[in-house]
């Protein structure tokens, strides 16, 4: 049952010598072995790497070392677009199969320094492009609450691995909702930090101006602990703000007295499912009961945010993905007779359809003659979105919205309809355009499937956001619900 323990608990037990890091790791590895064949959360389980690390931690502890970081002994799964030195990093793409980075992402360095045990690399939508976890070149990830349904994307594996209790914590990345959306659909907590709080060094870029690494966990305390480990200054990322978040303090009676919450009406439009709306409205009532003042507001440019996002993100992606050309690493098509053919065939064979679609859109949007009509226009819309938020934060401390307008859909249901898939991120995308922090916390179920509540904060208000989410979690306990993956086929006798 060790795998069911929170990160905070595991850390305490390890420090106290009640559980060895090897015991914890073995427990997690055996849980993964039993449920992951049906969940598909991992692309690579780095068992030897993890055990080796665990043994070293145990040896240190035995030798009397007490200088351990806040994640000592805690297994953490890492999304496969975050570079791990010596562990294959593929971005769930054929084009990077077999690529082993010679360096660690900054967040991975910090995980290691804090005593965490990196257990493996989680499945994802290829290059983080997708909202369902179905575009991976290495198979789909399934929702632990209903294995016939998608877990959300693109950090599908990181969310599912936590939801299925394979690991207590994981890292994902969020470009347009890729942490919050799967967190909501799998019933876990996911934080998208303020852009610039967590170093992107070593995160394989999808859309550089939007990407941000963030944590998943079962509860807000665990998520805060992981966030505090990964956030902070890094000179290797020029877009890093160079700021250290203030310490998150939990405890006492949860109260939201004096907290002003805004409810933007554009996030409750026609696309929202009745069950989702009901849960979110209940959550808003509970926040009010905790003492917060709640008022409706408007973010009028929300309706254009999706269009702007689907120009800016592919435009940046088209450049970011140009380096995968078959010249230096990863996949190279065989038998090409010249350079151009080698490039063309490598990319045609190496990238999946969603990635190709976005490269095409991005290349088109940037090409001369179309730049002003598309890319420039999209950047102007982005400015409007930012202004909307700035206006709202003149009045409110945080905004409350649904994370996703629907619950998890069936596998394959939207795969051939990219436009309807893109709508799944409609509530999360504006946050990325503005670089704001936002958290998704479980707020109950609709038809047996998890629903997520999104709290959006001001720049660098991540700590306040975590405290707000903690207060809500404290009085609702939705985060304590667990899917029964074993009964659903994970360990059939």
């Amino acid at each position: 049952m060790t795998h069911k323990l929170s990160a905070a608990r595991l850390n305490r037990l390890f420090l106290a010598g009640e559980l060895s890091a090897v015991e914890i790791t073995e427990s997690v590895l055996s849980r993964i072995a039993s449920v992951d064949p049906v969940v598909g959360a991992f692309i690579k389980v780095a068992a030897e790497h993890a055990l080796d690390r665990a043994r070293k931690l145990d040896a240190r502890r035995k030798a009397g070392d007490r200088e351990f970081g806040p994640l000592a002994g805690v297994p953490v799964a890492v999304k496969d677009n975050i570079c791990t030195c010596g562990i294959e990093t593929t971005c769930a793409s054929r084009i990077l199969k077999g690529y082993v980075p010679p360096y660690d992402a900054t967040v991975v360095e910090r995980l290691r320094a804090s005593g965490a045990i990196i257990i493996g690399k989680t499945n994802m939508d290829e290059f983080a492009m997708g909202s369902s976890g179905e575009t991976s070149a290495f198979g789909v990830t399934r929702n632990p609450w209903d294995l016939e349904r998608i877990p959300g994307g693109s950090s599908s594996g990181s969310a599912a691995a936590v939801a299925a209790e394979e690991v207590p914590l994981s890292l994902g990345s969020d470009t347009g909702g890729s942490i919050r959306q799967p967190a909501a659909l799998t019933g876990v907590v996911g934080l998208k930090p303020t852009y610039g709080y967590v170093s992107r060094y070593g995160l394989v870029a999808f859309a550089s101006s939007l990407d941000q690494i963030g944590p998943f966990g079962h509860d807000v305390e665990d998520v805060a602990r992981l966030f505090e480990v990964i956030a902070g200054p890094d000179r290797r990322d020029a877009t890093n703000a160079g700021r250290t978040p203030p310490e998150v303090k939990f405890g006492g009676e949860p109260s939201l007295k004096g907290v002003r919450l805004g409810v933007p009406r554009e996030y409750f439009g026609s696309g929202i499912e009745a069950g989702v709306r009901a849960r979110v409205e209940e959550a808003i009532k509970q926040l009010e009961e905790l003492g917060a003042s709640v008022e409706e507001c408007s973010l009028p440019s929300t309706e254009h945010a999706l269009s702007a996002y689907y120009i800016i993100a592919p435009a940046e992606a088209s450049a970011n993905l140009a380096r995968f050309d078959g010249v230096r690493y990863g996949y190279r098509a065989a038998g090409a007779s010249g350079l151009l053919e080698m490039y063309g065939r490598t990319r045609a064979e190496g990238f999946g359809p969603e990635v190709k679609r976005r490269i095409m859109i991005g290349t088109y949007a940037l090409s001369s003659g179309y730049y002003d009509a598309y890319y420039k226009k999209a950047q102007q819309v982005r400015t409007l979105v930012i202004r909307d938020f700035e206006r709202a934060f003149g009045r409110f401390d945080a905004l409350v919205t649904p994370t996703v307008p629907t619950t998890a859909w069936r596998l394959g249901e939207k795969l051939d309809d990219p436009l309807s898939m893109y709508l799944a991120d409609i509530c999360t995308i504006p946050v990325n355009l503005a670089g704001l922090p936002a958290i998704s916390v479980p707020c109950g179920f609709a038809d047996g499937l998890p629903v997520g509540l999104q709290l959006i904060g001001q720049h660098f208000a991540d700590t306040q956001l975590l405290q707000l989410a903690w207060a809500y979690q404290k009085v609702t306990k939705h985060h304590e619900a667990r899917p029964d993956v074993d009964l659903k086929g994970g360990r059939q006798q």
């Binding site: 980075p101 360096y103 870029a205 000179r235 020029a238 877009t239 050309d325 350079l339």
Partner: protein
């Protein structure tokens, strides 16, 4: 060239900055290292790596801009310029598109006839260099495999773009030399074309003389020496004129200059022009410079060639020609100024003569560069002191100078070792003069019969006998005395 036509030339010059490290990472920026040894995840553009701007590269670029009389953009940004090529590991170059760091500058050039012209600089932007392809074969087409060396990938480059103000190959050559000189003065680049730290693209068009409209231009890519620039321009000029004179139309195209064959060949036409799909680099924040930043860089600029040249002319009385030769290379100017400082301001013209006539000749003969000046200013000043004191004659000084170049020894040491001191002892010299006169009765007869040049001949003989060490005025006086004595005895 036919006077009917006027050539219009614009240059795009790429210069590698001699920073200690590369522009986006902390790898060493050095020429000639073992292939792929100065590389890291950033300059190899490994997935997940991010660029961070090198502050020294930024400062050098600003410095170059100020030295070239540019305005400095207080808010500039980087853009991605997208293209696929194996030496371009990220698939884009980080450059600057609509907001270059420096703009609206100029360089004044002085033609041989003494007239000067101003070549305007449109912009200077900062970007990174690419790696280098090595083809395992005679050329790209014949190569079986191609290898890439990424040591150069990420080396900081500035691209200097001129307005189409250049009117001849001579002006292009003068401009490039002046540009090189200025950049070397500021210490931002070693500007070695042979090592590829300065490269050039040339835009050439031809129009009827007096026309205000531009002709259709062709662009010559990667012209890799000053002489190639001259030849390339002259080739294109002829090509355009002959097309125009035959009633044809010049096509806008990009051409490759093949220096060995002396021809240009079509690389791509306007129709298949590249679409680089520029957009703002999201991994780098905009560059914001304050007035204080710019002034701090300006304060770090050394005195530049134009200013030194003016000073050499006004304070030291040098001619424009002499001054321009001295300031062409920073090392020459430094050498000159130091030598004058040691020898005294009144010796400035003498120092200039020695430097321009003797030193330059020796260096040309030996193929020495400006960083290999074989005589120190101290040595020259020491030699001039010996002349001034009368220890050696001007003639002997030339010998001493040659020996200084060869041995690296000081003039004083050489004079001592070789016994080259001037003979000013009248008794000794008179004795030699008498011997010379006595030994050449035929010339003596010539002198006696009124041939004036015969006396000069005897002076020459006296010099020869003393290996040039005789004081020339004294020599003439004593020869005359000896001749008169001889005549009196007869």
């Amino acid at each position: 060239m036919t006077a009917k036509w006027e050539t219009v030339i614009g240059l795009e010059v790429h210069v590698e900055l001699s920073t200690e490290t590369k522009v986006w990472c902390s790898c060493k920026n050095e020429f000639g290292a073992e292939p792929n040894t100065n590389v890291c995840p950033v300059c190899l553009a490994l997935p997940g790596s991010l660029p961070v701007l090198n502050a020294q590269a930024l400062e050098y670029a600003v410095k170059a801009g100020l030295a070239l009389n540019c305005k400095i953009q207080r808010y500039s940004k980087f853009d991605r310029k997208n293209y696929f090529y194996p030496d371009n590991p990220s698939g884009y170059q980080i450059s600057q598109y609509d907001l270059p760091l420096c703009y609206d500058g100029y360089v004044d050039i002085t033609r041989k006839d003494g007239t000067s012209r101003r070549i305007r600089i449109k912009r200077i932007h900062l970007e990174n260099d690419a790696g280098k392809l090595v083809h395992a074969g005679d050329d790209v087409a014949a190569a079986d495999t191609s290898l890439v060396d990424f040591n150069r990938a990420g080396v900081p480059l500035i691209e200097i773009v001129t307005e189409p103000d250049i009117r001849s190959s001579e002006e292009a050559d003068l401009f490039l030399n002046k540009l090189r000189s200025i950049l070397k003065y500021c210490g931002v680049s070693d500007v070695k074309m042979e090592e590829g730290s300065m490269r050039c693209d040339v835009n050439v068009s031809v129009r009827p003389a007096g026309s205000a409209e531009f002709g259709v231009r062709s662009e010559l890519k990667n012209v890799n020496s000053f002489s190639a620039v001259v030849r390339g321009i002259e080739y294109e000029q002829k090509r355009h004129i002959s097309i125009l004179e035959e009633g044809g139309a010049v096509e806008q195209e990009t051409r490759s200059w093949r220096d060995a064959q002396g021809i240009s060949v079509l690389l791509r036409s306007k129709e298949d022009a590249e679409d680089y799909r520029y957009f703002p680099e999201p991994d780098l924040p905009p560059v914001v410079l304050t007035d204080e930043d710019v002034e701090r860089v300006r304060a770090s600029l050394p005195e530049l060639p134009d200013a030194i040249m003016a000073r050499l002319m006004s304070d030291y009385g040098l001619s424009a020609y002499d001054a321009s030769i001295i300031v062409a290379e920073k090392e020459y100017a430094d050498w000159f100024l130091r030598a004058v400082e040691l020898a005294g301001r009144e010796s400035a013209k003498t120092v200039a003569n020695w430097q321009i006539n003797e030193l330059n000749r020796v260096m040309n003969e030996k193929g020495l560069g400006p960083d290999q000046i074989p005589v120190t200013p101290e040595q020259l000043a020491g030699m001039l002191k010996l002349i001034e004191k009368g220890t050696i004659t001007g003639k002997i000084a030339k010998t001493v100078f040659e020996k200084m170049v060869e041995s690296g020894k000081d003039a004083e040491t050489i004079v001592k070792e070789e016994g080259l001191t001037q003979v000013a002892d009248e008794g000794e010299l008179l004795k030699i003069a008498r011997e010379v006169v006595a030994a050449n009765p035929k010339v003596f007869e010539d002198w006696k019969s009124g041939k004036q040049s015969a006396a000069q001949w005897f002076v020459g003989q006296l010099m020869k006998a003393t290996r040039g060490r005789a004081n020339p005025q004294l020599a003439l006086k004593l020869v005359t005395q000896a001749l008169e004595e001889q005549a009196g005895q007869q």
